[in-house]
Every structure is written in structure tokens, then in C-alpha cells.
């Protein structure tokens, strides 16, 4: 055979590969789609119908990166996300050419004064600088951004000693004094991986004046890594303070309360993400998790959604009294505000008995790291903007407001949101997802799958290789310091020398027609709604 014959054969083979193989493949797909009985669209429009599934699948990413405008996107808009990331990376909150905020939408605004406070007049404690690292951009090109990481001594923006918030000042042998208004909300080891928890612990420890809530998953060594102040959460499953039989272990509790790093305990009643009881698959109950939570390795955990130890305010208060007596440390409860009569009943009991929690954490109930059911996250409980002023009001009505600190949480990830919560009655603010973002969360919304692509909400060793603790812990510190600095900026604008002085009168609500109304109207409306129950 001569060379042309080879070329002809080669050509035929090439045509067969390029045309015949795809055609056969498409015919195969056509019949596969046509014959399946699951999807109507594929039976009626084989192959073409797949375009629907493809675009549906990649839709969230396309919207997040390309099509949503900067103020759209839930749970956090691109802009809110960037505000958190930039605070962590660059410790920077400056913007140019005006705000992107939608001023026509309804929302809360802070009333500024004509004569704000000067920097020197603020009651801030910047005497101990914090040694952190921030990024500095050298050159921002179209395809590359050159930046370097540099050490920096920054002002911590702590509260003065006399302004420190004291939890359990009148009730405990060891009250918890905190010199900052923002801390990390409950996120369990297990929900977040060891790298994320370690980075958070080290970052919060570095920033000082803040706290870390363990979540109900018990206290791990990763929480202790950076020596932050810790609030240990106790859920109905009693992880970390239980006997093998499942009952509350006073011995374990005493051991925990003797740890210097643990500053307070929080009983988690029904809460946004977990108004049902918790559930952990047996395969996720590793030896390490079993040891921390004091459960049996490899065995699926189905925990109750209410404590067995108490079922009404007065038995709960007795339990709290005993915890405080044994531990000597403040004890609080975490709740979602729903039925106001139940709350009022509890607060009335506080007044009558003289007992009660040292702090109440109010969750906005939107569910964070939480793997929870859609119906619970979306519709159960009042969002923070309604819940907080109502709780504050009930406590004042019964004259027990001074006995208890209010900690608010629920998407309060920037200084303005925190300040508004403080003005609505919060003494302190908890943040969960803002801190997740600062350790690398890209809002992929797969926390419940253990497949977090950035190694934050996963226990997978492989995925966690992406999360470098040393780099991320600086971002955590920068973020929390940046929040505190922002709070002082806002306080100064409102004519206050410390953000601890934010009151209802410092904010107003503006509706979408531009009418403004005071916070009290929310309370009136809530009371009215309760009467119609």
C-alpha cells in the first residue's frame, strides 16, 4: 500500500471517531432520557431537557459571582460578604464615592449628632496594642493582585475597665468581665473542623476582649488552643457534662467549671437551628468526638429537643442555681423569642423568685452552620429585630433588667448592624457566620453535607488542608478588632464616648415610604399581636 492508502484509512478512522462516536453517544442518551420514568421534561425533550438541570445546578454560583448585584444574595449579599473579608484581610473598611446601600428600602438608621465626640474624648482602652498581620496591596492588576502580608501593631479598641460588661456580678463567685462587645456565637467542634476552631480560638485569643462559645458539641482542645475566654454551651444532649447513661454529670460539670478559661455556661433551650433535637450519624462519632462529648464511639446520637432536667421556669431556675452554686460561674440561657406569654411567665418568675439566668442569649433563629430543617430555619421564631426590643421591654417591665445581660445574634456581621442591636437593648453581640467568613467561608451553603469546599464546616482531613490556621487566625483578630473600632466610630457619630451607651433613642426605623418611627413601635405592635393570639 502506498502512502495515499494510509492517508485514506486514517481519514476514515478520524471521521468515524469525530462524527460516528458522538452520534452513537447522543442516540444512547436520547433513548436513555426517553425511556426513564422519573423526569417528564426528559421524556418529552430528551437531551435538550438536560440544559434545565445543568443551569439549575450552576445557577447559585452564576448568581453569586455574576448576576446578582452587590446588594442582593442571601443570607449575605456580596457587599456584606466583602465587608467582612476586607476587615479580616486588610483591616480596612473605607469606601469611596458613596455607599451602595439601598436607602429606599426599609431599615434602621443611627441618629447622629451635630457635635460628635473627638477621638481623644472616646472612652477606649488602646493601651495594649495587638500584634497582628494584615495584607497590603502592592499592585492590583486585571489578572493578578500582588500583595504582601506584614506585621502590624494595632489598637485593640477595648472598652475601658469601668465600662467592661460584667456578667453575674451580683450572683457568682467568679463573674465574667468582658472588655469588648462582640464575641463568637456557638459553633461546635464537629460542625466546624479542628482547623477552623483552632484558627478562631487563636484569633479571638489574640484580639482579647472577646469570647468563644463552644456550641453544644462540648469543649475540645482546639477551643483552648489560643487561650480565649470561653462560654461553654450545654445542650439538652449534655455533651461534655454527661454520664455514660445520659444523665447530667455534676462531677464532669465541676471539672469543667474549674477550668480557668471557661468563664460562663450557657444552657441552650430551643434555638433557631435546632428547635428539633440534634442528630449525629454514627460514622461521624469518631473516637475524638466521643471523648469530647462523652458519648459512645460509632453510635448514632439522637438528642432530645428539651432538657429532661427541667420543664418550666421555676425548675429551670433551680437547676441554674445549682449550676452556679457548684461552678461559681455565670449561667445563661439561649432562646429564640416566639410566644411572648411564655417569656413573660419566665420573667415574672424571675421577679417573684429572685432567681434566674445571668444572661439571656437571643438568637434571631435563621440558622447558621446549622444543618437543620428548612421549615424550622425559615419560619420558627422571631427575627432579632423584633425579638430583641420585646425581650428588653419585658425585662424592664418586671424590673429585672439589671440582673441579666442580653446577648443578641442573627446576621449582625458589620459594626452598623451590631450598633443597632446594642441600641435595641443588647448588652453584647454574638456572631457566627461573620467569623466563618473570616476563616475562609465562601457561602457555598453545604454545611450540612460535610463537603465544605474551603475546609471550614467539615471534619474531612483532606478538605481542611485548604485552611491554614496561621494565616486565618490573623483575619479573625482583624475582623473582631475592626468591628470594635467601627462601633467606636458610630458611638462618636452619635455623640457617645462609648458604644456601651447606645439606647433606643439613638436609632430610628425608616419604612420604604421614608416615614420614620421609633423602636417603641415594634414593641407596641408585638404586644398588640400577642393580645390577638
Amino acid at each position: 500500500m502506498d502512502i495515499t492508502a494510509y492517508l485514506v484509512i486514517g481519514l476514515i478512522v478520524f471521521i468515524a471517531l469525530v462524527i460516528v462516536v458522538p452520534v452513537v453517544f447522543f442516540i444512547y442518551l436520547y433513548f436513555k432520557d426517553d425511556r426513564q420514568k422519573q423526569h417528564a421534561i426528559l421524556r418529552n425533550f430528551p437531551i435538550l431537557g438536560n440544559v434545565r438541570y445543568l443551569t439549575e445546578k450552576i445557577g447559585p454560583e452564576l448568581r453569586q459571582y455574576l448576576f446578582n448585584n452587590d446588594n442582593e444574595g442571601k443570607p449575605f449579599s456580596r457587599k456584606q460578604y466583602q465587608d467582612v473579608v476586607k476587615a479580616g484581610k486588610y483591616k480596612e473598611r473605607l469606601i469611596g464615592f458613596g455607599s451602595d446601600h439601598d436607602f429606599e428600602a426599609e431599615g434602621f438608621y443611627i441618629r447622629n449628632t451635630l457635635f460628635p465626640k473627638q477621638r481623644d474624648e472616646l472612652k477606649v482602652d488602646n493601651t495594649e496594642k495587638v500584634k497582628t498581620k494584615t495584607y497590603k496591596i502592592d499592585k492590583d492588576g486585571l489578572f493578578t493582585r500582588k500583595e504582601h502580608h506584614e506585621e502590624k501593631l494595632v489598637d485593640p479598641y477595648l472598652l475601658r475597665d469601668e465600662d467592661a460588661v460584667v456578667i453575674g456580678g451580683q450572683t457568682c463567685r467568679t463573674p465574667f468581665r468582658v472588655k469588648g462587645l462582640v464575641g463568637q456565637s456557638g459553633m461546635s467542634f464537629g460542625a466546624l473542623g479542628e482547623n477552623a476552631i483552632t484558627a478562631l480560638s487563636r484569633g479571638l485569643g489574640l484580639a482579647k476582649g472577646t469570647w468563644m462559645n463552644t456550641g453544644e458539641g462540648g469543649l475540645s482542645d482546639y477551643h483552648l488552643a489560643g487561650n480565649p475566654d470561653i462560654i461553654m454551651q450545654i445542650g439538652p444532649d449534655l455533651f461534655g457534662v454527661r454520664k455514660p447513661s445520659g444523665e447530667f454529670s455534676w462531677e464532669e460539670f465541676k471539672k469543667k467549671s474549674e477550668m480557668d478559661q471557661i468563664k460562663a455556661f450557657e444552657l441552650k433551650l430551643a434555638q433557631g437551628a435546632k428547635t428539633r433535637g440534634g442528630h449525629v450519624e454514627g460514622e461521624k462519632v469518631t473516637e475524638e468526638i466521643a471523648k469530647i462529648r462523652l458519648v459512645e464511639q460509632g453510635k448514632t446520637i439522637n438528642s432530645p429537643n428539651r432538657f429532661y432536667e427541667f420543664d418550666n421556669p421555676s425548675t429551670m431556675f433551680d437547676f441554674i442555681e445549682k449550676l452556679r452554686d457548684v461552678g461559681g460561674k455565670p449561667v445563661g440561657i439561649k432562646i429564640v423569642v416566639g410566644d411572648l406569654d411564655a417569656l413573660e411567665d419566665m420573667v415574672a418568675t424571675m421577679k417573684e423568685s429572685g432567681k434566674g439566668p445571668d444572661f439571656i442569649t437571643i438568637d434571631g433563629g435563621e440558622g447558621g452552620t446549622g444543618a437543620t430543617y428548612q421549615e424550622l430555619a425559615d419560619a420558627v421564631g422571631l427575627p432579632i429585630q423584633a425579638a430583641l426590643p420585646v425581650m428588653d421591654e419585658i425585662l424592664m417591665k418586671y424590673g429585672v433588667r439589671d440582673r441579666v445581660k442580653l446577648i443578641a445574634s442573627g446576621k449582625l456581621i458589620t459594626p452598623d448592624k451590631v450598633a443597632i442591636a446594642l441600641a435595641m437593648g443588647a448588652d453584647l453581640v454574638n456572631i457566627a457566620r461573620g467569623f466563618m467568613i473570616s476563616v475562609g467561608c465562601i457561602m457555598a451553603q453545604v454545611c450540612h453535607t460535610n463537603q465544605c469546599p474551603v475546609g471550614v464546616a467539615t471534619t474531612s482531613k483532606k478538605l481542611q488542608e485548604g485552611l491554614i490556621v496561621e494565616e486565618k487566625h490573623y483575619r479573625v483578630a482583624n475582623y473582631v478588632i475592626s468591628l470594635r473600632e467601627g462601633l467606636f466610630n458610630l458611638a462618636a457619630a452619635a455623640g457617645l464616648d462609648s458604644p456601651t451607651q447606645f439606647k433606643r433613642k439613638h436609632i430610628v426605623h425608616k419604612d420604604d415610604l421614608g416615614r420614620i418611627s421609633p423602636v417603641e413601635e415594634i414593641i407596641h405592635a408585638a404586644v398588640k399581636a400577642q393580645h390577638h393570639k
Binding site: 474624648e121 493601651t127 506584614e150 501593631l153 494595632v154
Partner: protein, 207 residues
């Protein structure tokens, strides 16, 4: 040594107070806003004097030395307005002299001796305090740091005359240099430009 510190509202001043305390001196902080008193006490000031009008007399009494921190950046730009508020410096010199204080350490800026080249007297006055310090017969030291940064101090510096105005130095290192110069005889009656470098601070004066 009891040392009066002027210019405490900025970070360098705060760091000087802290460093003085650590080196067993007794810093006297002079502040303009009374709200800053607790901060100064916390940083280690033995005494805090609020400078409302002319209170330097009280502040300087029984002091052995003055550290005057004139906050300014050499990068403020050529021919920009006065980098150092010379009137205040001169006032404090006069008071120090009256109270018999001999030691005077001034933090100026590398560009403080910029020549008057556009005819405005304000710029020409920049070096005036430096001149006066020499004339008044103080045991003086003038430290002219480069561009101040918030980086942590390394304890390693470069000292000389007419160093590059673009070079940087951390505020923490400048504070250490100011405090070190108090008792280091090699620093007496001299003017130094200081940037970050590779010589330990206590040795740098001898070079």
C-alpha cells in the same frame, strides 16, 4: 529619672510612656484631653498633667528631662506647611530652662531641616527649634525618624545624618530610641536621622 513627655496623643507618645516605665524611669504624661488620663496611668505614667493653657510649670517641676514628640511625617511633602509646631516646642524649652531641666530630647522629622526655597517664612521656620535647643545650652538630642509605621519594633535601626526620607521606621523603635538617648552619652548634643536598619538600638549611638 523623672521625665516629662509632651505629645502623648499619638502612638509614639504612648509607647514612650510605656518604655520609660519599663526602663524604671518616672514618666510624667502631659495631655490635652482629660479623658486620656486613665490611659496614661495604665501605660505607666507616674503623674499625669492636663495641659489647659499654661500648665507646663506644674508638669515640669522636679523633672530631670523632657521628651518632646512632635508628630509629623517626612512624607507630608516638600514645601508643605510647618512639620513641627515650633512655637509649642519653644514654649516648652523656655519653661524647661526656667525649671532648671538640663536634658531635652526632641523628636522631629527627617525633613525638618528642609531649606526654605519658595520664600514663605513658615517653611523656613522648620529648623528653628533645633537651632534654639543648641543656643539655650541644653544637653540636647534631636531624633529625626523616617516615615513612621505601625509595624512591631525590631530593636534594630540605622542612624546617621541625612538619611533617605523615604525609608521607614516603626513607632515602637522610635520610642525605644528616644528613651535610650536619655542616658546614653553618645547621644548628647547631637542630631540623628533614624530609620530601621540592622544595628541594635543601644549600639547605634556609638557608630
Amino acid at each position: 529619672m523623672r521625665v516629662a513627655v509632651i505629645g502623648t496623643s499619638e502612638a509614639v507618645g504612648e509607647l514612650v510612656i510605656k518604655e520609660l516605665k519599663e526602663k524604671d524611669h518616672q514618666p510624667v504624661a502631659i495631655i490635652k484631653e482629660k479623658n486620656r488620663k486613665p490611659d496614661m496611668e495604665k501605660l505607666g505614667a507616674s503623674d499625669v498633667v492636663i495641659d489647659e493653657g499654661n500648665r507646663l510649670e506644674k508638669a515640669f517641676s522636679a523633672c530631670d528631662a523632657v521628651i518632646y514628640i512632635a508628630g509629623s511625617s517626612p512624607r507630608a511633602g516638600e514645601s508643605k506647611s510647618v512639620l513641627v509646631d515650633h512655637e509649642e516646642v519653644i514654649d516648652s524649652m523656655t519653661e524647661a530652662k526656667r525649671q532648671g531641666i538640663e536634658r531635652f530630647v526632641l523628636m522631629s522629622a527627617i525633613r525638618a531641616n528642609e531649606k526654605d526655597n519658595n520664600g514663605t517664612t513658615r517653611i523656613g521656620d522648620k529648623h528653628k527649634p533645633d537651632e534654639q535647643l543648641k543656643q539655650e545650652g541644653f544637653v540636647f538630642t534631636i531624633i529625626r525618624p523616617g516615615h513612621l509605621t505601625d509595624k512591631p519594633g525590631k530593636g534594630m535601626i540605622r542612624m546617621g545624618k541625612s538619611l533617605d526620607i523615604d525609608s521607614e521606621i516603626s513607632k515602637e523603635d522610635v520610642a525605644s530610641v528616644l528613651v535610650e538617648s536619655l542616658n546614653n552619652e553618645s547621644a548628647f548634643n547631637k542630631i540623628f536621622d533614624v530609620t530601621s536598619g540592622n544595628v541594635p538600638i543601644h549600639e547605634a549611638f556609638n557608630h
